[in-house]
Structure formats: structure tokens, C-alpha cells
Symmetry: C2
Subunit: 568 residues, 2 copies
């Protein structure tokens, strides 16, 4: 039985659903419309086009075999009809007719459908501040807009730029402009950390420091009050004064495009996203939706979640395509997974950060571990910094976040946890997580296993930890004499610190602690420090046995301190 499928929106989900359906039902007709002129491009690649890593916008619109995914391609290679620069204006659900207008000619018309797909996506939020509409103020909304941003840069018109918003896209854009073009770039973020809600303040501070060292400036906890300029942007005003800017990028989140759905009477959530079941059907069974315009279950909280990600859109697109052809595919939801490259660093996350977990009502704690990504005796290696968020009591793992170098070692660990999060893992599942092992790739006790172990020790009350931010505060108040900073490493590691801070930095190597116990004061807080937190934990266990319970193990040890702002 031949049918007609009409798809509104031809980026990510739309084309994926169209192609999947067409392969399953080659005899049916598929019509895909889009209000833009360029379709089926990889929007996530825009920062790499801006930076110059991707030289031509066509590359973002091409297949892996270098064919441009334009209307002709969809017609000839896929048998799919595409109408660009065509806007859907209304859905006549009774009559199964999509009303459209041709933006080139202004001509209106209707397209009959048997089943309809809404892939209307999202649009970037634009702050309602004076000057937001000035020339030179951009969002990262479309390939067209990206072309205009890059043209300005390439013409040499941009010496200074301001990025508003320190989410992933804002930071990618800051890197793109700063790194290859040498543009003086400042990121202004209203929250007091970068990547808010995604990673902990501690990891965020480390990543921010890396970006600062790479040349990007930051104003944190600052609102942009207005943007000024004569015709074109010239400066951005924040609470700290004026920032000169030849270009402004607003990257302050997105809003789902649901007007068409809402006006047709389809169920739209409070958040303003189209509601779908696990088959990606809207409240009208003849109408599917997916991608940035829908919400899907958060598999950790059980509540609706919203993640405008190209990866989810593509996978949902295949589910939609299968179901359009009468299949029974399901998209059960997501746990929320994320990775971003920031210069030579990667930051990744899956599931809930500690602050989000607590906001969602979990009685949660987190633990922090630093360890090499491969066998410590293998010559090429690097440190991974991982944080695990767990629920007390149940020991359920709620999320994982981390930073690493720009290789895929971090991705491997976050992916493994991402894969099991929907199965409600406990700390034991991470402790015993089975990763492929050989020295060039991992450790016999991998950093992920160590992370699970540390979480268990924390929940068992065996490891009383201190974060690097708290350490920093106590160190800054070291003159109050309340704290004994004890370096548990061997003398070779401790020496430089003892010489620099003879009054405050004490060296008692962990393996000498049994003999030198008398040097440990009874009446102070004792901060235990080693390279990564392993020997200091060992020292803590021993001191506990000896009756010294006022000890704090610095999580991540000096490896964490070195990533932290400051010059200790």
C-alpha cells in the first residue's frame, strides 16, 4: 500500500526519517519541506567551520563520500522530493493536509499527507536586551548565519569578540575565534561556572583555567546589560563595564519550535516542547515528531527531559522512519550525555551532575578520582579527572563527569557509564566494570574501577574527603594555624613545597608514618596530600586506627591542585 509522508524540517531528524522510511517502503512517496535554502547539514559542525577546521560550508552539508545533500541528491539518490524555502503554516489534521507557503513566490498551497512528521527543531534564544538586534550580533542558528559570521572574520573585521553564554556551543565558538583567528575573545556567563548544570564547579574551574591559559577571557556571574554601537556592534556592557567587541555571539540556549504543533492542537508540554510517546508519536497518531522540538523521558529521573542534540535527533529519526512504515521501533528516552573539546582538553558527562541530582531530589554525593588513563608504566599516558555522582543509601550511580586530554580516553570511560545508566547501576557496577585491558589502553584497575571504589569508600565512611576548592580556601587561611598540611609523598616530591612554605607544608611520607607518628599534631585539622589521593587515603586509614580522626583526604591530590587556578 503506497502512502504519502510529509516531513516538515530537513535537518537531522527529517532526512533521517525520510531515508529510513523510503528504504523500507520504496513505493511510497516522501515530501520533505524546509523554510531554509540549505538542508541536511551538520549544525554541530558550525564551530569547526568558523575555526577553519572545516574550510567550506558544503562539507557540513555533504555525505561522508562527498556528495552534497541538496534537493537533487535526495531526489536522485534517495527518491525523496524536497521543497526548500517553503514554510509550513498550518496543519489541517481532519483533512490531513499541510498548508504551506513558497517563500520565494509567496504562493500558498496544501500538501495532502497520510502521515506527517514534525522536525521543526529549535531556535537560539536571543536575550531581550538593548542592542541585541545590532549588526554583528549573531546566534549560532543555521549554516546561513555561520557563513555570515565567518565572512566577517575572514574579512578581518573582527579583532575582539564577546560570547554570551558558557555552555558547550559558546565555549566551542570562543575556541574557534580565539585559537585559529587570534581574536581577543571574552566569554560572559551569568552563572558562576562554565558548563553550568553539566559538570561540577570544580571540574568547570579546571576547564576554565585551561581556556584562560589558551587565551580566552571570562567574566563569570555577570549579566550582559546592553549591547551598543552605531549600526554595528561596538561594545558589550556588563556589570564590570564595557567590553569592546566587533562581533557578539549569543549562545544562551534554544527554544523548541512548536507553533505549528500548538496551533494544530497537538499536546505541548509546560516547558514548551512537543509531547511524544516512545514511538515518537504526538497526541495525533498520524503525526510523528522528534529532535529539538520534542521532549523525551529522562531515564534517570523518570521525568521529561529536553536535550537539543543532533545525535538524539538522528537516532530518533530512524525510529520515526521505521514506525511510519508500520514498524514497532521505540526510543525509550535518554540519560543526557555530552562531550566537548576545549583546546587540548576534553570535558564529558553523562547523567546528572551533583547539583542537578540534588535539585531533582536525590540525596546525592560525589567522589573525585585522578588516575592515569593507561598503565602507569606505559610511556605515553595522561591523567583523567573523573567525578561520580551517587545516591546515598541506594548507592545508585546517577551520573559521571570528567576532563581529560583531547584524545578519546575520557570518551571511553564516560561512554561505558553512559551505556549502563539506564539499568540503574550501583557503585559496585562501576567498581567491577569490565573494560578491555592492556597496558597501552587502560590500567589493570582502571580509573573507572578506582572511581567506583572511591565512591564505595566514601559511602562507607572510610574515606573522609576534601575538595580542591575547600583545600584552596584552607590553604589561603593557613596563617590561622588551625590546619596541618601533611604531604604524604616521598621527600623528592615534597621538598620544593617544604622549602617554599617551611611553616606550613609538612612532609611525612606515608610509608614513614608509622615511625613518625609523634610529628602529627593532636589538636589540628589534618589535610592529607599526595599526588592523586591514593597514598593520602592510606595515611588516613592508618591515622584513624591510631586515633587521629580529624583528617581530610584531598581528593585528586596535587594533580587536582595543579589544574586549579593559583600557583601553589
Amino acid at each position: 500500500m503506497s502512502q504519502t509522508i510529509v516531513i516538515v524540517g530537513a535537518v537531522a531528524l527529517g532526512p533521517k526519517a525520510a531515508c529510513r522510511f523510503k528504504r523500507l517502503e520504496p513505493g511510497s512517496r516522501v515530501i520533505m519541506i524546509d523554510q531554509g535554502s540549505m538542508i541536511s547539514y551538520g549544525g554541530c559542525g558550525i564551530p569547526y567551520y568558523i575555526s577553519g577546521d572545516v574550510s567550506d560550508p558544503d562539507q557540513l552539508q555533504s555525505t561522508s563520500f562527498h556528495m552534497l545533500r541538496d534537493a537533487r541528491f535526495f531526489k536522485e539518490a534517495k527518491g525523496i522530493e524536497v521543497m526548500t524555502e517553503t514554510r509550513a503554516t498550518a496543519i489541517d489534521r481532519e483533512g490531513k493536509l499541510l498548508r504551506v507557503i513558497d517563500l520565494k513566490t509567496g504562493k500558498e498551497g496544501g500538501i495532502a499527507y497520510d502521515q506527517l512528521v514534525l522536525a521543526t527543531g529549535s531556535r537560539p534564544r536571543r536575550l531581550p536586551i538593548p542592542g541585541a538586534e545590532l549588526e554583528g550580533v549573531f546566534t549560532v542558528s543555521s549554516l546561513d548565519e555561520a557563513v555570515r559570521i565567518k565572512a566577517r572574520i575572514a574579512e578581518g573585521q573582527v579583532g575582539k569578540a564577546v560570547v554570551i553564554g558558557a555552555g558547550a556551543i559558546g565555549l566551542e565558538m570562543a575556541e574557534a575565534m580565539s585559537d585559529l583567528w587570534g581574536i581577543e575573545t571574552t566569554v560572559v556567563e551569568v552563572q558562576d561556572q562554565i558548563l553550568p548544570h553539566i559538570v561540577s564547579p570544580t571540574l568547570a574551574r579546571m576547564a576554565q583555567r585551561h581556556m584562560e591559559e589558551s587565551g580566552v577571557a571570562f567574566q563569570m556571574g555577570e549579566e550582559v546589560r546592553r549591547i551598543e554601537g552605531e549600526g554595528c556592534v561596538e561594545r558589550v556592557l556588563t556589570g564590570q563595564g564595557a567590553l569592546e567587541a566587533d562581533l557578539v555571539v549569543m549562545a544562551v540556549g534554544v527554544t523548541p519550535n512548536v507553533d505549528l504543533a500548538r496551533e494544530a492542537g497537538l499536546a505541548v508540554s509546560e516547558r514548551g516542547a512537543i509531547m511524544v510517546n516512545t514511538r515518537m508519536q504526538t497526541s495525533d497518531p498520524s503525526i510523528y515528531a522528534g529532535g529539538d522540538c520534542v521532549e523525551i523521558p529522562n531515564l534517570i529521573t523518570g521525568k521529561p527531559g529536553y536535550w537539543p542534540l543532533g545525535s538524539l535527533a538522528n537516532r530518533q529519526g530512524r525510529v520515526v522512519g521505521t514506525n511510519l512504515a508500520g514498524g514497532r521501533a521505540e526510543f525509550e528516552g535518554a540519560v543526557g550525555s555530552f562531550v566537548v573539546k576545549l583546546f587540548d582538553m576534553s570535558v564529558a558527562s553523562s547523567g546528572l551532575s551533583l547539583s542537578v541530582a540534588r535539585r531533582e531530589g536525590f540525596d546525592a554525593v560525589s567522589t573525585f578520582v585522578v588516575q592515569f588513563d593507561r598503565a602507569h608504566f606505559y610511556p605515553e599516558k595522561d591523567l583523567l579527572y573523573l567525578e561520580l555522582v551517587v545516591e546515598k543509601g541506594t548507592r545508585r550511580v546517577l551520573g559521571i563527569q570528567g576532563i581529560g586530554n583531547k584524545g578519546d580516553g575520557l570518551l571511553a570511560r564516560i561512554s561505558a557509564v553512559a551505556a549502563i545508566l539506564k539499568h540503574r547501576p550501583t557503585t559496585a557496577d562501576v567498581s567491577n566494570m569490565e573494560l578491555p585491558y592492556s597496558p597501552p589502553f587502560s590500567s589493570a584497575m582502571d580509573v573507572l574501577n578506582a572511581l567506583g571504589n572511591a565512591a564505595e569508600n566514601l559511602l562507607d565512611g572510610k574515606n573522609r574527603v576534601m575538595d580542591v576548592d575547600q583545600f584552596d580556601e584552607w590553604w589561603n587561611h593557613r596563617e590561622n594555624g588551625k590546619t596541618f598540611f601533611m604531604d604524604c609523598r616521598n621527600w623528592g616530591n615534597a621538598e620544593a613545597y617544604v622549602k617554599k612554605y617551611p611553616e606550613h607544608w609538612k612532609s611525612i611520607p606515608q610509608d614513614e608514618l608509622r615511625k613518625r607518628l609523634s610529628e602529627v599534631p593532636q589538636d589540628k585539622n589534618i589535610v592529607l596530600i599526595c599526588n592523586t589521593g591514593v597514598r593520602s587515603y592510606e595515611a588516613q586509614v592508618f591515622l584513624d586506627e591510631m586515633g587521629f580522626h580529624n583528617t581530610f583526604n584531598l581528593q585528586g591530590g596535587m594533580a587536582a591542585v595543579k589544574k586549579w587556578p593559583g600557583d601553589l
Copy 2:
């Protein structure tokens, strides 16, 4: 309540169990004995010590903070007593006494225990062939032996070497000798593929080709009949004649060391491994065991499994340590995960390969996908070759294998599947696998998702595939005129092949197929070829609709052909 724990074996599991227990019960006594002089070393690092990547054997015996894990270290840093060069000779279970002999003095004695841990490990198999005991014939059994191997090499005594066995250790040793030392190395393997049972013959052949291009020679399907030499090894005799050799490494598997357990009446399996429950307890509840001397459940087959891996030993060690202290930790089993670096290539696996799955009684098939490891428009990228083994009917995923470059991109994908294998995933779980996404790390539709999709299409009968080995055979018989080799790529890709093989290589780009259908013969087998198998699949779907059902989609496309031996 203080107790005495005695641990037999001080590599991997033994020290881990000892340290974990001691941290939980600092007041108890732990005695660890070992018949060797060097303890607690990373045996998996031996090939990297041989190669020179690790310069000193001490590095394999050191902590990540460069402390030598010797008896003194365990005493002072951990509070654990260690007796080296001491062999356990018998267990008096009734009297809870371990009988030992001091190998230095010959003095016998007994150590009373409350709980005992057997970490007796395994020993390398030595082939029962003439000459196996000649000087210069080694196994990879211990750090002592590694030191002797490297001494011979470093003294310049080794120009040619033979490795018997093409498992992971054999291949790592072959690389170690060939790459940095320039030793002419030949690997002799009795099976007809490298990494037998671990990856498919197809992936094995690709990896073998890479090693051959890197200078290692292979004799496959060959038995070593004898080793000859005057005092010292001079040659190895196989069915193909004599191979000159100054050094021979036997890497033909290991045998669990269970004599002590067997003689004490503990349950030992048919395979010859100690049987333990999920708490790692032997048939005597006061005696725990783990590591290379035990078998544990295979979480895919439900049968006992045997994996002599340092990673499993370490994780089991922590479980043992917890339980010795009265905890309730469990080690539920493993799915079998593996990774090896071979020059610039990584090969990894988790779960069952196709041949093992079938041997275990599963009605299994596999699907093969080649795709970039990150967004195809991202400048730095490389191909990943993945194979998914699935059960027909249930669509259960039984295993995954792959090859990639020596980065961690392959590890990320294999780890994610390894993590879920115990949850009995289906192809839909891989299709919808949620991996962190951004262009520098993955694709919106990641290679892993594409692999799940391909498996579904295969099981649905939508994608009728051909492996590269079958393609190779048909191509070699191309003169019989039975096959139409159709290149679905654009002319630019196909041109060179058409010019070289004008009679046999036909170019019909997939997007021109609708117009050029008359060029497709009705009476031949049609092999559809593109870069990776995506466009050829598209062509197959279209040809099906047009009534051409005799089509075969070359899985992995030309990317697979290029990894295959031969010069097509």
C-alpha cells in the same frame, strides 16, 4: 576481633586482596607469601619491557608514584608481612595451617591462618616437543624470565626470533622484538588465523596484514614439530621447513596452578581451575581464591569461563579483601573483554566472536560496518571496523569485535558494549546507544549506532551482505563471467578500477541507478561496491524494488578491501 589472613601468591590479586583487607581491618595480621623473589609486578607489561618502551623492570614493579612494591614497601606502607622465595606445600584445612618451605634455606614450617587466599595464578603452557627445553626457548611467565629474554636481545645475540602462538601475548612479543630491536620475527600459529576465537577470520586477516606490513612474518595453520640447536636454540621446524631462530617465545596459553588446592581437596573444575562462588570463596568457606587460578561465570553463556587477565584479578582481589573483612562483595562474572595494540593498530573485543557463539550453540550471525570514528567533516579522523555478533530470533547482542588505529576510539565503542553485555542487550540497544557526541569525538549517528542498524537490517532480510573474503574469492574467479561487479560510487572513485579492469569493473553511481537500470544484467550475481557499504546498501534496496534480487552488498566496501591482502 583480630584475625590472621594468609595469602599465597603476591602478584595482582594477592596484593590487592591484602591491601584492601588491611585497610578495612588495620588491626588484623596479613601474611603474603610468594615463591618468586619479585612480587606485585604488572605481568601484562612484560612485552613493553622487552620492547624498551619500559626501560627498567622496576617500573613494572613500582606504584604510579615510583615506589618499588617490594617486601619493605608492603611492610612499611601497608603493614603487610611478605615472605618471598617461600613456597606453600600443603594446606591443613582442619588445623587451618599452611605448610611452607623456605626456598633459600630449605627449611619447612607452618603458618596458622584464620582465612586463606589462594592467588596461585597460572603458568605458561610449554609444548611437549623435542627441544622445548633448549636454552633460548622462553615462555612469558615472570619478570625474572623477561629479564633474561631482554638480556639476550640487548647483548645482540638475537637476529632472528620465532614466536609460537598468535594470541595477544604472542603478537605483543612479536611486535616488541620486531619493532624496536629490528629482529626478524616469525609467528607460527596452529590455527588458520591470528587471535583465534577472539575475532573473526576477516578482522584477523586485516590485523595480520598490518603486522606483515610492519615487518612480522607469519606461518599460519602450522604446527611446530621440533626445536633444534646445539645447547642453544638454532632453528624451529614446521611443516614448511626450518626457521632459523636465536630465540623462541612460546605463547600458547596458560594452565591454572591448582595443585595446592586440589591436594587440599578443594573443588577443581574439569577445565582444571579452582571453583569459587560469586563471593570468590572456594568449597571451603575459610579459603578464598581468585585471578588466573579460578574460573568464574561467563555472563553471556551462563557457563563457567576462564580469563587469565590482570584486570579481572585486581578487581576480584578487592572483592576478596572486602569479604575477608566480613563484607558482602560479589564478583558476578565476566563477559570476556580484550584489547591489544599491534603497531599502529588496535584490536578489541568483548563477549563472543561468531565462531565461539556458534560453538556455544547460539544461532548467530554477524554484521560488519566501517565508518569514521568522528564526524566525517572533522579534519582528524580515522576509520573504525566493527563486527557485531547477534542471535537470530531474539536479536540478542552476543559480542562485538573491531579494529582501529592505536588511539582510544575503538576502546570507547567496545567499552560501551562491554558495559551492557551482561544486561542481555538487543540490536535496538546498540542502534539507540547513547554516546556523548560532538564532532571531534563521534558522529551524530555513531559507528556503533550504524552497527546496530546494520544488524537490524540484516536480521530483517533487508541487507543481503557479502564478506570481503567471499568477495575476494569471487573476484579471483571473475573470468567465469558469473558476477557483475558494480561500483556504486561516483565516477571519480570508480575510474581507476574501471580503467584497470575494463571487462569486469562497472561503474554505475548509486544516484544514477534509476536512469541507468538497463545497464544492470538480469542473469548474473550482482556485487554492489562502495566505500563502506552504505551506498551499495541503498542501491540494493532500489534494485530489490526493481526486481533484481540477486544482489550482494559488500560489507565494509572498499575500506574493507583495502585492509585485505592483495592489491585490488
